[in-house]
């Protein structure tokens, strides 16, 4: 029963992909949509069943769906590992995924490629489920590539838009760089452990040398940084906002981009053997958290602000991993999935209301026109800014506390400044969108309308989760969440810091202060004295333009990598056309000539020789006369020659047999 439930989880969306993909054009959009979100809903129900079972028995269990290849000592199974970590990921993926699917029904209503959209979305669900459920690196990799492919397809969903096509290509290429590192890691793991099963690898992890562990984990990190948009491979994620907003919510906020974090936590036994890698994770995470937050300060596209915020929040999760706070990382992953999905979807609702407008300079004063969207967006903002008692406060505070208690004060500083900036830019976004005077295009203004219930109900549910989700991890370090994940995500061999209540409360107070400080600054600059922002921008134009242009990283990458690659491509093209092609043609001619030569030799030398010997002359004469082409005797001669060689071999083998100790006569 348990096994069946587990197998059904990815099977439902897969069936939906097949049905909608193969026959979707034959029935209405409504039916296609129902099949799509129904399948995810069923997966969610199965996940609840699995969750109930895991609550009763948290021991890791393996479920083999089927053995694909086995033979010798090679075996590749499509098998699932169900433990608390997987269960949490499953709940997030299917739960949030289900809500986003429902929302999409409303958001994508009337789109021409409605069925195509849902086919891709369901395919994404299948891949993501394989990614988090697999019990070996092969299944993980299949899921990993699958989500990358779906991300590509969905970013480029509006394929008639050139920018969408470019963004999709960029996402794909940057992810490939990460995947290359990930593949190398898989090869290293296989060559070192001789197996790709998590359970066996983790059991033998302590036998690794530090150097090997560092090599493997650094390669894994390249993959994780690509998928989770960390420095220096983050540039694709802001561009990925070209896709439809539910895609941004599902793939580029709640699930796929967190795959890197999941992978690090899943392999924490390897990371614990490699202090260098852990330090790298922490520093990259911390720097990314701060770096992306600074860019988020000045962006004017509502989805781009959220995208940089996602990059920054993912940085927090990696930072948590780097200081050994794996549970804190997963906790933040879960709460982030709630409030970031909420923010993206409500941003989608705003865009929907304004008929596609994404520039916050053309919004403002929307709070009474679309009240539901306003309230849920505000809840999301409060949650991400870290205002207690909303979800983001608990999880972010735990990461900050972890960094502080572990004595990583520099990381704490990064995180704290990042938190201040987060609070600031999120409230800036809220003020510019919902308060102040309306800057909406008058043509658009009288069309403004609240979204239909199919969109607002998922928003309200997500808002509820963003408010309450944090209580899973209360009290800090000892909440239900920590108990549930304790066995699968506790660092190996790390001493436990017992934190005094006073320190905990002190750190919390500081965190609250930071959040409120950011809020107040935003309130001052965008509500009390709205001119302040422009004055500051004019006062230090270099800083402003640098931030607005995202530190010119994209331009630098273009100059450093893309342009040289293009030139290399042109060079290679030239080489291909002028040298390689000629070479290939030459080889082709060579083959032709040698084939002709062999045929000629066969015909004129070999067979002529045989004719001279005179074997089967009468046969030849008869066959020639009858058929004009009888070379049967030649064929027979080939057989005789081959036979003679084989017999000769056997005889030689016997003659030499005595020296090899084999039986002779």
């Amino acid at each position: 029963m348990f096994d069946l439930l587990v197998i059904l989880i990815p099977l439902f969306p897969l069936l939906a992909v097949l049905v909608n993909g193969l026959a979707g054009h034959r029935y209405s959009h409504e039916l296609a949509g129902r099949i799509a979100f129904g399948s995810v809903g069923l997966s969610f129900l199965c996940t609840l069943g699995v969750f109930g079972s895991v609550l009763g028995n948290p021991e890791p269990r393996e479920v083999v769906a089927y053995s694909w290849i086995f033979g010798g000592n090679l075996s590749i199974d499509l098998a699932f590992l169900i433990d608390p970590l997987t269960t949490i990921m499953l709940l997030v993926v299917t739960g949030v995924g289900f809500l986003i699917h429902v929302y999409s029904i409303g958001y994508m209503h009337g789109e021409e490629g409605f069925t195509r959209f849902f086919t891709y979305m369901n395919l994404f669900m299948v891949s993501m489920l394989l990614l988090v459920m697999g019990n070996n690196y092969v299944v993980l990799f299949i899921g990993w590539e699958g989500v990358g492919l779906c991300s590509y397809l969905l970013i480029g969903y509006y394929y008639d838009k050139i920018s969408a096509g470019k963004a999709a290509t960029k996402a794909f290429v940057v992810n490939r760089i990460g995947d290359a590192g990930f593949l190398v890691a898989i090869f290293l793991i296989f060559s070192h452990f001789g197996t790709l099963d998590y359970t066996s690898v983790m059991a033998k992890a302590s036998t690794l040398s530090t150097g090997m562990a560092t090599a493997i984990t650094l390669c894994l990190l390249v993959g994780a940084f690509g998928k989770s948009a960390q420095l220096p491979l983050y540039t694709w994620l802001p561009d990925a906002m070209e896709g439809p907003t539910p895609v941004s919510a599902l793939i580029h906020a709640a699930t796929m981009v967190t795959a890197g974090v999941y992978m690090v936590v899943r392999n924490h036994a390897l990371f614990d053997m490699a202090p260098v890698s852990l330090a790298t994770v922490g520093i990259i995470g911390g720097v990314t958290a701060l770096f992306a937050a600074t860019i988020g300060l000045v962006q004017n596209d509502i989805k781009r602000v959220l995208a940089y915020s996602t990059v920054s929040q993912l940085g927090y999760m990696f930072l948590a991993c780097g200081v050994g706070g794996y549970i804190a990382a997963i906790f933040h992953l879960v709460t982030h999935a709630f409030f970031k999905a909420l923010l993206f979807l409500s941003a989608g609702s705003v865009i929907h209301a304004l008929g596609g407008e994404q520039d916050i300079r053309k919004m403002g004063g929307l709070h009474d026109k679309i009240p539901t969207t306003y309230w849920v967006f505000l809840i999301g903002t409060l949650a991400i800014a870290g205002i207690p008692p909303l979800a983001g406060f608990w999880s972010k505070d735990e990461i900050l506390a972890h960094a502080f208690v572990n004595g990583q004060y520099h990381l704490y500083l990064f995180a704290a400044v990042g938190a201040f900036l987060t609070s600031f830019y999120m409230f800036r976004l809220t003020y510019l969108t919902f308060y102040g005077s309306s800057r909406v295009d008058p043509h658009v203004a009288h069309h403004i309308h609240e979204s239909p219930p199919v969109m607002t109900v998922p928003l309200m549910i997500l808002a509820g989760l963003a408010v309450l989700g944090g209580f899973l991890g209360v009290p800090p370090e000892h909440g239900w969440f920590h108990g549930f994940l304790h066995d699968v995500a506790t660092p190996v061999g790390a001493e436990h810091h017992e934190v005094s209540v006073g320190l905990t409360l002190g750190l919390m107070t500081v965190a609250i202060g930071i959040a409120l400080g950011g809020w107040y600054l935003a309130h001052y600059m965008y509500s009390i004295r709205p001119a302040t922002a422009n004055e500051m921008a004019e006062k230090s134009p270099q800083v402003y333009t640098t931030l607005l242009n995202k530190y010119y990283v994209d331009e630098a990458y273009d100059k450093l990598f893309v342009e040289p690659c293009k030139k290399l491509g042109l060079l290679w093209d030239w080489f291909d056309r002028h040298i390689l092609d000629r070479f290939v043609v030459g080889v082709g001619h060579g083959t032709d000539i040698s084939a002709a030569a062999i045929t000629w030799t066969e015909k004129h030398v070999l067979y002529a020789g045989l004719n001279v010997i005179g074997y089967g002359h009468h046969l030849a004469a008869w066959a020639w006369r009858k058929l004009q082409s009888g070379q049967v005797h030649h064929y027979a001669a080939v057989i005789i020659i081959g036979l003679a060689i084989l017999i000769h071999l056997a005889v030689v083998w016997y003659a030499g047999g005595s020296s090899t100790g084999l039986p002779t006569r």
């Binding site: 033979g71 084939a595 058929l627 027979a636 057989i639 036979l643 084989l646 016997y654 030499g656 039986p663």
Partner: protein
């Protein structure tokens, strides 16, 4: 001295039930053909398929219930190995009959007899799978080949068909002569005909030469270099369904004998025959693949590709372990679906365009997306591209060779996969990229579609869900788990 005293009981006859049933069914079909004036050849074809289907069910039933035994002083043995190959032969035959229906419509004479010849050959091959001594090898081999002699030359008005038939006949008789000579040598040296009684015999020149002669005759059947020379001409000249039939069923049946003979009778000779198979495998793969590149006719292309695939199969024989035979049997299954599927597409296309030239496959995708996609799938499976069946088949063969540390063979095999990819993809390129000279659509008839769909299903299922089929092959050769101990192989090359 050979003395026979036959005692047959009812339960013994049960072991022969599928063969007896199919023979009777064949007679009924034949009688219906000449006694009912109104009966069409399609009806006869479906009758034959029905008989084959019932036979297949019987065989599967026997395999599942585990009915085994030996008859006629071990001349005829029914075990899981035999049942595996019998099911393979029956399946191939049924598919070939499906493919033939369209083709036979154009015959002017003897439409009904065609199906009888096909089924008769199938009965011969079913006996081949069970033959356990040299005499029954000779008799059953000739029995099955007899049908093919007729079938290959079935197009009486087509000079190339007659030529192919004649060549096949002459060389076949020649191979039979070699076989008889080999049998006489072996019998002279050992005093027995039965494989299991030869096991453990000390070697001698006469015995070695005898076995090599027998191998030559069987190598002729499976088309291994250097006994391959009849294949291209015969494949090209024969009616295409017969070519399809030739390309899989006799190879399977002959491999049953090869496995039985080398694993049972010749187990103590293993170091010697490993060398023979390594050489034959390397030469077959390389020759088949290289010459296939130059082919202009799709049937000839598949003929040479078949020679190369036999080279692949002999990798398993060269490994000489149970793992090797398992791999061979699984590979044969994958080969059956991909190869018969490809021939079905060829028949469907040639029924419309009346040509087998590869040039005429230009732009097939525009003319029939279904046939082009199916052909693509079959060619990719033949080339061994994951996740299709052929990939898993080749993987197992290579794993078996790797376990025996046959690295030279492995490297040659891998290089050959790359070469084969080239000519398979040339066909793909012509189908998908080149412009058709004549854009009129090509429609396939229902029976051909059945064969193509079965091929597609088999190719996909064996690739994605090979587990049960591998288990089937593994269980079929359980008797070898004790017989062939893994022996380091190449260390006993001559003179080393």
């Amino acid at each position: 001295m050979l003395t026979f005293n036959l005692t047959l009981s009812g339960s013994d006859l049960l072991l022969l039930l599928p063969e007896i049933f199919l023979t009777l069914w064949l007679c009924v079909v034949l009688c219906l053909d000449f006694s009912l004036k109104r009966i069409t050849h399609q009806q006869l074809a479906y009758l034959s398929i029905g008989g084959l289907g019932i036979t297949g069910l019987m065989l599967i039933g026997m395999d599942v219930t585990g009915i085994t035994g030996a008859l006629f002083k071990n001349m005829f043995v029914l075990d899981h190995l035999a049942l595996f190959f019998k099911i393979l032969v029956v399946l191939a035959t049924a598919l070939v009959v499906f493919m033939s229906i369209d083709y036979v419509r154009d015959f002017r004479f003897f439409k009904g007899e065609y199906y009888c010849m096909v089924v008769m050959s199938a009965i011969g091959m079913m006996f081949m799978a069970s033959s356990n001594d040299l005499l029954s090898v000779f008799v059953t081999l000739e029995f099955s080949t007899f049908g093919f002699y007729v079938l290959v030359a079935y197009l009486r008005d087509d000079i190339r068909s007659s030529e192919a038939g004649l060549k096949f006949f002459i060389l076949g008789v020649f191979a039979a002569g070699l076989l008889a000579y080999g049998i006489s040598l072996v019998y002279g040296e050992t005093g027995t005909m039965v494989f299991s009684e030869m096991a453990g015999n000390q070697g001698s020149y006469g015995l070695a030469i005898g076995f090599i002669l027998i191998f030559a005759a069987l190598g002729f059947k499976i088309g291994a270099v250097p006994f391959h020379s009849w294949i291209p001409d015969t494949y090209q000249g024969a009616p295409t369904p017969v070519t399809a039939f030739l390309s899989i069923a006799p190879k399977g049946a002959a491999l049953a004998i090869l496995i039985r003979m080398f694993y049972v009778a010749l187990a103590s000779f293993k170091p010697m025959w490993v060398v023979v198979f390594v050489l034959a495998s390397i030469v077959s793969m390389t020759y088949g693949n290289v010459v296939a590149i130059a082919q202009k006719n799709i049937k000839r292309l598949l003929a040479y590709s078949g020679i190369a695939q036999i080279g692949n199969i002999m990798i398993g024989l060269a490994a000489g372990t149970k793992q090797g035979s398992d791999a061979i049997m699984f590979f044969l299954l994958t080969y059956l679906f991909a190869n018969l599927g490809a021939f079905a597409v060829i028949i469907a296309v040639s029924q419309v365009i009346r040509s087998d030239e590869i040039e005429d496959y230009n732009g097939l995708n525009r003319r029939s997306p279904f046939l082009a996609a199916a052909m693509l799938l079959f060619l990719l499976s033949l080339a061994g591209v994951p996740p299709l069946a052929g990939f898993i088949g080749k993987l197992y063969l290579f794993v078996a060779a790797m376990e025996q540390e046959l690295y030279t063979l492995l490297v040659v095999g891998l290089v050959n996969i790359v070469i084969s990819m080239y000519y398979y993809l040339i066909v793909v390129k012509k189908m998908y990229i080149n412009e058709p000279t004549d854009p009129s659509p090509i429609a396939a008839s229902m029976p051909i579609k059945v064969a193509v769909y079965v091929g597609i299903a088999g190719t996909l299922v064996l690739g994605i869900y090979p587990g049960p089929f591998i288990d089937w092959a593994v269980d079929a050769t359980l008797m070898f788990s004790n017989i062939v101990a893994p022996v380091a192989a190449l260390s006993v090359l001559p003179g080393s």
